[in-house]
Amino acid sequence: METNQITETINMVSEEHLDIRTVTMGISLLDTIAGTPQETAKNIYKKITTYAKDLVKTAKQIEREFGIPITNKRISVTPIALIAGKATPDEMLYYAHALDDAAKAVGVDFIGGYSALVQKGFANGDLALIESLPRVLTETDLVMSSINIGSTKAGINLDAIKLMGETIKKITDKSDTANAKLVVFANAVEDNPFMAGAFHGVSEADVVINVGVSGPGVVKRALEKVKGEPIQNVAETVKKTAFKITRVGQMVGALAAERLGVEFGIVDLSLAPTPARGDSVAEVLEEIGLEMVGAHGTTAALMLLNDAVKKGGVMASQRVGGLSGAFIPVSEDAGMIDAVKAGVLSLAKLEAMTSVCSVGLDMIAIPGETPATTISAMIADEAAIGVQNNKTTAVRILPTNGTKVGDLVDYGGLLGTAPVMPVVEKSSADFINRGGHIPAPIHSFKN
């Protein structure tokens, strides 16, 4: 019995906020499609409530046995636009309510997959789904949506970007917080367990368990022990810590899958912050040597962190997937909020950071009067970074009516609080209004 190791593990959980962020059950809905939306909705409800019946109970028991919190239990499903190929926007509500009702019936925190993949173009179901978003995201509670508007293979669908800018504005007019449930992706991954972007890709098995680990606090604490040492020691420390965290995710995921009698999918080794102090990615970056996140050097520190997390985690898990890296959502990270309030962390710096981390502009509040075309242009910039660099990028942006720069907007719970950030006021309208399609980048002559 190694007492030191036991104490270390217990401290990670009780003092450093180590948790399994989510156990997400991915469920294929391809076999629920019936003749009418009502029948399909009934099948969807039945399949989800059958397979996920014991998800929460099982997760809670595992939590107990290992003494490690599993913060969220979630479900992801096949992108609904594929299931609702024939539906009208009004009929889409049947699908959305089936998801919401099923999620509530089994007691999960969120259900993701109210999604459409439109990187190359729109089909009927895609357009119906996007048109239904303002209603769906305000009339349901647990349904999360994602729209993929670009990929390295297909290029960037500028028409879709324009439509999403307008849709985000329409959602804001109905609710200040509903946009937290919508993410616009480039290069979306099919096995991501994290919200709002989780969906169950068409190439996945029928039902799988995916796990998302967390633990910025643990990484920060480990880095406190190598203060002032050369930077490669920082990378080594992050790798070792990521290994430990991921091993817990692997163990929990494999056991949950076994007990639920389904396949084990992947571990997503992401450092995902929460608004709690000491559970912040910004604080990790500051521990590496920045006075405040947003200072020059932030992008370099984040690149090292993101890469070392992957390197450490890959060996600890049988199968790694999802987004895997570091998340930088502003409203969900106490250190990021401080840096924005202090005027140190700007949108421009955040955009640069997204070129080396696992996601994109995430949970950022902007003034409500920001034009739709400006929001579209922000999405286009993020998509460009992802598509050109073969990585996932995402935009989850929250225009908030009646606010001005510097105001604080509260989204509640894990979603946190965001200070309203300034956007460039010059117009991007003529660029966005061109519409059409940005061709896929060439991947030779790399420079």
Binding site: E2, Q5, F66, M251, M315
Partner: protein
């Protein structure tokens, strides 16, 4: 057969080991290994114990130990051994 680690952390006072051992005995659980130390007045103990199986009995034991911890004003964790192995061994 599964194993669990019971850890007790808190301010030292007479009777902590006795009470924990009694609770374990009440559940008919065998202690395999004990390690205990006092660091600047803080009592730290880890016990490796045998579990017949992982079922309601485990949950009851965990609940009883948590209640005992509150009563003794110390923190008692009961966790399956695997989590420590998973984290610390390749």
């Amino acid at each position: 057969m599964a194993k669990a680690v019971v850890t007790v952390i808190g301010k030292d006072k007479p009777g902590i080991i006795a009470s924990v051992a009694n609770t374990l005995a009440d559940h008919n659980i065998n202690i395999l290994d004990v390690s205990q130390t006092i660091m600047s007045d803080i009592f730290t103990m880890s016990m490796l114990v045998n579990l017949e199986k992982l079922d309601e009995e485990f949950n009851k034991l965990q609940d009883d130990l948590t209640v005992l911890g509150k009563h003794l004003n110390v923190e008692i964790h009961t966790q399956r051994e695997e989590i420590f192995d998973a984290m610390s061994r390749v």
